[in-house]
């Protein structure tokens, strides 16, 4: 009988030793990342004239939002600095805005609290650079653009050989995609420092463009049958093709695309997915995204990425670390949507509510 009990006792001792080993020498697991809501605010019904709802503090970061028929600015603490109803459209930057009517030609540049900065005129629609230091008038036929100074005077004007289908601006560069498949990169003076017409497709057209934060790279989605992702690097007047990748997509509309603030990668809409292009490897990895990509947001300068897409009445939110593991995922019904960045976090808006989402390591 004692001979039968010995193996069981040995087994028990072995398990105990293993357990003690793991208690004494725990295996270091990877840190888990979680997306945590920092705050949620309701956007109160607004008037056309707009209302400052909290004093703006210069040392507290803030961000713009556009949600359905409202827009405004919110601080990183969740204080609404300004909310206003959209007249027809609004040109928004991180620092200022121009709210304009459909046929009006006189515009007012206002700051985050709605205070008037300057006024100017144009026959098209205003457009601001993302940080708000540059003001443009996009001509109403989409075949020309004018940059204005703070007094509303024309700095430069340029007409295009076809009408614009996409535009992106950073501090010093403006990329324009045309219906004839031409991609232009203009400098501060409006002079084209790069012109390219991506080839290889049966029909030439540009559906999206983006300029990297340092202006060294320009990306475009071009063509029909097949559709390509083109990433070009500025190399004098002759652009160097960094990548030209055929996409499994058949878009015939503008699509969303942008470089991360740290310039480490490029996010763009695919067909039911989102592509993440890594310039260092010149390759694309894919994330699934249902329906039409409605917004891209970056947290911590691009360390993580937020995506919202719309399919029918449902919205899919994904938060992920590019080239790594997903952080959060949710599907919910919503009509109005917004996704942006705020002080290292994501600013998510849906149906009258704004939420700051932070990604933290546990």
């Amino acid at each position: 009988m004692s001979r039968k009990k010995r193996p069981a006792r040995l087994f028990f001792i072995a398990v105990l030793i293993i357990l003690i080993y793991f208690v004494l020498f725990p295996y270091p697991l990877g840190k888990e990342m979680v997306a945590k809501p920092a705050w949620v605010v309701n956007i109160a019904p607004t008037t056309d004239a707009g209302q400052p709802t909290a004093p703006a503090a210069a040392d507290i970061p803030s961000a713009p939002f556009r949600l359905g028929a409202s827009f405004g600015f919110v601080s990183s603490r969740g204080d609404l600095l300004h909310t206003e109803s959209v007249l027809y459209q609004v040109a928004l930057s991180s620092q200022n805005f121009v709210s304009f009517t459909r046929l009006g030609t006189d515009w007012i540049l206002q700051d985050q609290t709605g205070a008037r900065i300057s006024s100017f005129s144009g026959h098209g629609y205003p457009l601001l650079s993302s940080e708000g230091s540059r003001v443009f008038n996009v001509k109403s036929d989409l075949a020309g653009i004018v940059e204005l100074n703070s007094s509303g005077e024309t700095l430069w004007s340029r007409d295009f050989s076809g009408f614009m289908t996409s535009v992106s601006i950073n501090r010093d560069f403006l990329a324009v995609g045309l219906v004839n498949g031409t991609l232009l990169l203009l400098n501060r003076e409006g002079f084209p420092i790069m012109e390219s017409k991506p080839s290889g497709s049966r029909i030439s057209v540009i559906f999206a463009d983006a300029v990297s934060p340092d202006g060294s790279m320009v990306a475009a989605i071009s063509g029909i049958d097949p559709q390509y992702l083109n990433v070009l690097r500025q190399n004098g007047s002759v652009p160097e093709v960094m990548a030209k990748l055929a996409l499994p997509a058949t878009f015939r509309r503008e699509v969303r695309m942008s470089f991360s603030p740290d310039g480490r990668y490029l996010a763009f809409e695919g067909d039911g997915q989102v592509g993440i292009f890594d310039p260092s490897r010149r390759s694309v990895s894919w994330l699934s995204a249902r329906g039409i990509l409605a917004g891209i947001g970056y947290g911590q300068a691009g360390r993580y990425l937020g995506l919202i897409s719309r399919a029918g009445g449902d919205v899919e939110l994904s938060v992920t670390r590019p080239f790594a593991q997903p952080v959060a995922h949710a599907v919910f019904p919503a009509k109005d949507l917004y996704l942006g960045s705020i002080d290292g976090g994501l600013l998510l808006g849906w149906d009258g509510q704004l939420m700051r989402l932070d990604v933290e390591e546990l």
Partner: protein, 297 residues
């Protein structure tokens, strides 16, 4: 219906050079709407650019392709995936043949229908509306020649609209430096270089209110010799600026802030002279203004 690039360019060339408007070619395209009230013509001054197509009023109505074509680009004003301000409102672009695009703009939002790749002339692309920078429910229709890189006057290729109303030359103005004077018959002028400006509008009988349109062409002759001709047949971009024709004037060069058209710059010499300005519309109607003047010694 055949629509070759060669035939198209031949049509435009013939019309531009000979001005044989009344005997215009058989139409290559179908009208995109049934109710055709022309409220904007190619080359009109839009404040900061030429109108690069035609505006067709007639209220909200179905829009059909002018030819069978393939969808290139579409945009609905209510979409939330675009960051580009859209003066064209809800619009759609079709490609026909090898290198011609047709553009249908200012359509009602939400009327583009489900996305599809190809369109027949019987298909509906949307409804005329007032999305974007439109003054009233209308269709802005434009044609783009990809090979030439130019916008083409659609009236050159659409079936001729009945119109017996000739353009009007309301006044002719001479400018010498900053000085201006209305030029009347029998005037006495000083010798030197002058600019000739004219207030020229086209009127149509189907537009029952005063809605001035751009004419198709303006020709200026001095003492029987043609010295200038402006033809609103195509727009190209030269050195970042849209110009009429391959090497014509830009909008700033042609349109005076007062709405006058700068027709010609002339050197006038002592003696009697005779200025003739002829304005034509696309239906072939013509108006001429003859002015005799004397240039002092």
């Amino acid at each position: 219906m055949r629509f070759s690039s060669r035939a198209r360019k031949h049509v435009i060339l013939v019309m531009a050079v000979t001005g044989a408007l009344a005997a215009g070619p058989s139409a290559a395209l179908d009208w995109p709407v049934d109710d055709r009230v022309l409220t904007g013509t190619f080359g009109e001054d839009m404040g900061d650019h030429f109108l690069n197509g035609i505006d067709i009023g007639g209220g909200s109505q179905e829009i059909h392709p002018v030819l069978p074509g393939e969808l290139v680009f579409r945009y609905d004003e209510v979409s939330d995936y675009s960051s580009l301000p859209r003066g064209l409102g809800t619009f759609l672009v079709l490609r026909h043949g090898q290198d011609v695009l047709s553009v249908y703009a200012h359509m009602q939002s939400g009327t583009l229908g489900p996305e599809k790749d190809t369109y027949d002339v019987k298909d509906r692309v949307g409804f005329a509306g007032e999305s974007g920078h439109a003054q009233s429910p209308e269709l802005h229709f434009a044609l783009y020649d990809e090979e030439a890189g130019s916008m083409v006057n659609p009236l050159a290729l659409l079936p001729v609209l009945a119109d017996t109303q000739p353009p009007m030359i309301r006044r002719v103005v001479l400018a010498v430096g900053d000085q201006r004077q209305v030029l009347v018959d029998g005037a006495t002028l000083r010798p030197g270089r002058i600019s000739v400006l004219a207030d020229v509008v086209d009127l149509r009988e189907d537009v029952r209110f005063s809605w001035p349109l751009a004419p198709y062409s303006i020709a200026v002759s001095l003492d029987g010799n043609e010295v200038a001709r402006i033809v609103f047949d195509s727009l190209q971009v030269q050195e970042g600026r849209a110009v009429l024709g391959p090497r014509g004037p830009s909008r700033d060069a042609i349109y005076d802030p007062d709405g006058l058209i700068r027709c010609a710059t002339l050197d006038i010499h002592p003696g009697s002279s005779h200025l003739r300005i002829v304005a034509r519309d696309f239906a072939g109607n013509e108006t001429a203004r003859e002015i005799a003047f004397t240039v002092q010694e």
